[in-house]
């Protein structure tokens, strides 16, 4: 149905031409689901934009031809393309809320498409739009029709986007990272929905994702892309069991899954024996009846509802939960960026909650509790170099200056595997992984006793994630730190943590040693979480 031959796409940038896609070819037959897997910059999305001819400014197709059902999409006039888009080929995107017009009722947005493609007239548009909404399993569609995006949950928004995409019964659906930014459970729901619809409509689908696991679960066939090239193609099962290309293997390894060990995420050659970290019996952190309430428009909102737990010295605690579970709030209170409404935080036996966060920078425990932030980009001052970011805590708290400081900074850079040459760079000149390393270097600069890691790898590609996770493991052993590891990805938590807490709506619903909680989940919520997480097939032991 769709065939791409030798497609290459180039972008004009300040540094001249960048070839995002460099001559790829692939075919898609009717009703087939093809997964395009790759890390950021691999050109997987660009490929899809290219065949839709909706490349961003500066991008253009250089060579190759794209034919869909006999039509040459590259030669087709813009007008024809408009008729094809949404009618024959549709697309859904990541970050669904942004993908909808914020000030237009969602129903009308569906109508727009229907009317554009003459699938409906002004009169019956509304009815058809509602039908389209029902088709994506939106209950009470008639009411939802009137809603604005900001009134809907992320998952609901994604359903709307899907409804828009499928309203005109296209033959091909391109899903570009459709579930990034969604909670696991939602992610599963959305993917199942898309999968089912594709099946029952005999619709072809291209699933573009960075998550090999996800792809393997929903795709008939997978192509792996790297730097604008297709490096491997095949069935998911085979892909995992006997990956041909080194890069595929790397990806397969790096994807966290059942039975994997932290080291097994790395390519075989890089696997050093996993260091053991010593867990003392003495509690380092004791949290007691911690409560945080925010003043909300309609009465106060309780984000954290009186939780209590301990972290022993050297221990790693995993804090799992979906968005809105209060896990971030909790971590921010422990790191003393926020003041709890009530409750105590005992660190080394001293209540550190009594010192207001505004003055905590002078508190003795400041140096002992540090944090690695979720969004590495956001956590680095755009106007400061990597070096200055790492140096900051040393200069401010340690009072280090001059060459001594510079030496320490470069040590830390080595410690976190950040090339010295990058120290002079600004954040926007660093890759995601490099930024993460800078963030970690800054956090461990003062050799804290407790390190809070707030989804440190959420924004990273799996291969980078593998490296960072291993780095964290090494550092833990090397410096004897305790971790509070906040994450939504149970597979990651499983690899890293001794103990797990599962939070839901501000309460701890399940807790215990990682093994017990993960492998034989007693709590129903925990179970749904685990089941929702995509499980790639076991690879043969390498």
């Amino acid at each position: 149905m769709l065939s791409i031959k030798d497609l290459s796409v180039a972008f004009k940038t300040r540094k001249g031409e960048v070839n995002a896609v460099r001559g790829i070819s692939l075919n898609l037959s009717k009703g087939e689901t093809l997964g395009i897997v790759g890390e950021s910059g691999s050109g997987k999305s660009v490929t899809s934009y290219a065949l839709m001819r909706i490349l961003d400014a500066g991008g253009e197709i250089r060579t190759g031809d794209v034919t869909y059902g006999g039509i040459d999409l590259r030669a087709a006039s813009e007008k024809d393309m408009r008729d094809i888009r949404g009618r024959e080929i549709s697309m859904i995107f990541q970050n669904p809320r942004a993908a909808l017009n914020p000030i237009r009722r969602v129903g009308r947005q569906v109508e727009d498409v229907l009317i554009r493609h003459a699938q409906a007239t002004r009169q019956d548009a509304k009815a058809k739009a509602i039908a389209a909404l029902e088709a994506v399993k939106i209950n009470d569609a008639a009411a939802r029709y009137e809603a604005y995006p900001f009134e809907l949950s992320g998952g609901m928004c994604q359903r709307i986007v899907i409804a828009i995409a499928l309203a005109c019964k296209p033959q091909l659906l391109i899903a570009d990272e459709p579930t990034t930014g969604l909670d696991i459970t939602t992610q599963k729901a959305v993917m199942d929905l898309v999968g089912d619809l594709a099946k029952e409509r005999g619709m072809g689908m291209i699933l573009i994702t960075h998550d090999l696991g996800l792809a393997s679960q929903y795709c008939d066939r997978i192509v792996v892309m790297k730097d604008g090239l297709i490096v491997e193609e095949g069935e998911p099962g085979r892909m995992f069991t006997e990956p041909n290309h080194a890069y595929t293997r790397k990806l397969v390894d790096a994807t966290p899954r059942l039975g994997a060990s932290i080291r097994s995420l790395l390519p075989p050659e890089a696997r050093r024996p996993e260091p053991t970290h010593k867990v003392h019996a003495r509690p380092l952190l004791e949290v007691r009846d911690l409560v945080k309430t925010y003043p909300g428009k309609s009465g106060p909102v309780q984000a954290v509802k009186g939780i209590s737990f301990d972290i022993n010295a050297g221990q790693s605690l995993g804090l799992v939960g979906e968005s809105g579970s209060g896990k971030s709030t909790t971590s921010e209170m422990i790191v003393r960026l926020q003041d709890p409404t009530s409750g105590n935080i005992l660190f080394d036996g001293h209540d550190i909650a009594s010192t207001p966060s505004a003055h905590f920078m002078r508190h003795a425990a400041r140096r002992d509790i540090q944090m690695v932030f979720q969004d590495a980009t956001d956590s680095l001052n755009p106007r400061g170099t990597a070096a200055s970011a790492i140096a900051e805590p040393l200069a401010r708290i340690e009072g280090m200056r001059g060459t001594k400081l510079a030496a320490r900074v470069s040590d830390l850079a080595d410690l976190v595997g950040l090339p010295q040459s990058l120290l002079s760079r600004f954040p926007h000149q660093l890759s995601g992984g490099q930024k993460a390393r800078v963030g970690i270097a800054r956090a461990i600069a003062l050799e804290p006793k407790l390190l809070i890691l707030d989804e440190p790898t959420a924004a990273l590609d799996v291969s980078i994630q593998a490296l960072v996770l291993n780095l964290l493991v090494d550092l833990r052993a090397y410096m004897g730190m305790s971790y509070l590891f906040v994450s939504h990805d149970l597979n990651v938590v499983r690899l890293l943590c001794d103990k797990v807490l599962v939070m839901k709506q501000g309460e701890i619903v399940d807790h215990g040693p990682t093994a017990t909680v993960m492998d034989k989940p007693s709590n129903p919520y925990t179970r749904t979480l685990i089941e929702a997480a995509p499980q790639p097939p076991e690879p043969v032991a390498a």
Binding site: R82, N95, A99, N101
Partner: protein
């Protein structure tokens, strides 16, 4: 709707301290003005006695605090005092002149929007191209011209040399009678009276001053339109719309533009209140009987009542304007007033 109306009420509440602040500041400002109005208005050849008389009549012999007390007292009773320059009560002066300024400013803004917004959109759809740069240069040139200079130049060219424009004699050429006063806006009143000739005449008088002001206000509007359109066009939902095959004008106007409208509306509001104050000079040049020229005259001769009245009127106008903007906002953007 109720949260919105609540928001609007909130706005009104916020406005109260502002207005009070304006009252106090304007009072102090006028009293800080140099010169002795009494002596000035005693007229030539007045002796000490008669000056004293007038000072008493104006209540300027009282202490500052007393004067303020009386001033506020009168305000409460809705009495803005009498202007010494025009000899009329400030209320009637404003009533007569405010419409003139408003009419001029509004027409100017309409004109300006009619040009600036399309320009902005045009530039936004072709960023970095020569079209973009040209638009930028054009509107910037407009805002760079001192209005008084533009005004005089226009008069010289279009009235004095070409004879195309009517004589720059305020709102109506002297052979016309001002239309029956209904709104004070000549265009509207003339239309209501069904008096076409007067309507055309009023319009002709408006063209030059309105153009002068419009030239000056092009830039902010065009700039903001361009910026807003750019960010709107680069938004994800535009990509969605494109992927859904929507037509380019639907995307441009139905999707991008409506989203871009919000900041534009805000800018419009600011430009409006700014222009209302800034057309002082234009009114001077075109003998336009508006509040701007009124204020200048009053200020130069330290005509307390007039200055205070003018400032107060402008402040109230400003408050109302912001309200209108907020409401416009709420109408355009469903999110407003709900979060």
């Amino acid at each position: 709707m109720s949260p919105r109306s609540k928001m609007i009420l909130g706005r009104v509440a916020q406005a109260i301290p502002v207005v009070m602040g304006v009252v106090v500041i304007s009072f102090l400002l006028t009293r800080a003005l140099p010169g002795d109005p009494a002596a000035y208005f005693a007229g030539p050849a007045a002796d000490e006695a008669s000056i004293a008389e007038i000072r008493e009549a104006l209540g300027l012999d009282k202490s500052l605090f007393q004067q303020f007390f009386f001033y506020v007292g009168d305000l409460v009773r809705g009495d803005l005092g009498t202007s010494l320059t025009t000899g009329q009560t400030v209320t009637s002066d404003l009533a007569a002149r405010l419409p003139a300024s408003l009419e001029l400013t509004l027409v100017a803004l309409l004109l300006s929007c009619a040009i600036a917004i399309p320009l902005g959109v045009l530039a936004a759809t072709r960023p970095g191209t020569w079209v973009d740069h040209l638009c930028r240069v054009l509107v910037t040139a407009g805002v760079s011209m001192p209005t008084f200079f533009t005004g005089i130049a226009l008069i010289y060219v279009f009235y004095y040399i070409a004879g195309l424009a009517p004589s720059p004699l305020g709102r109506l050429d002297f052979i016309y009678l001002s239309p029956q006063h209904v709104t004070g806006f000549y265009l509207i009143d003339a239309a209501l009276a069904g008096d076409l000739e007067t309507w055309i005449a009023a319009l002709k008088q408006l063209i030059l001053p309105a153009t002068t002001l419009a030239l000056f206000t092009l830039a902010p509007i065009a700039r903001m339109t361009r910026a807003a359109m750019l960010s709107a066009l680069s938004a994800d939902f535009i990509r969605t719309a494109r992927a859904a095959g929507l037509g380019s004008r639907k995307i441009l106007y139905g999707y991008a533009f409506r989203n871009a409208l919000l900041p534009v509306v805000t800018t419009l509001g600011m430009v409006f209140s700014f222009t209302l104050g800034a057309n002082v000079l234009v009114e001077k040049v075109f003998a336009w009987p508006g509040i701007g020229s009124y204020a200048v005259e009053a200020l130069v001769v330290s005509d307390y009542a007039a200055v205070q009245g003018f400032v107060l009127a402008m402040a109230l106008l400003f408050v109302v304007l912001n309200l209108i903007i907020d409401i416009a906002y709420a109408l355009i953007d469903p999110r407003i007033g709900l979060k």
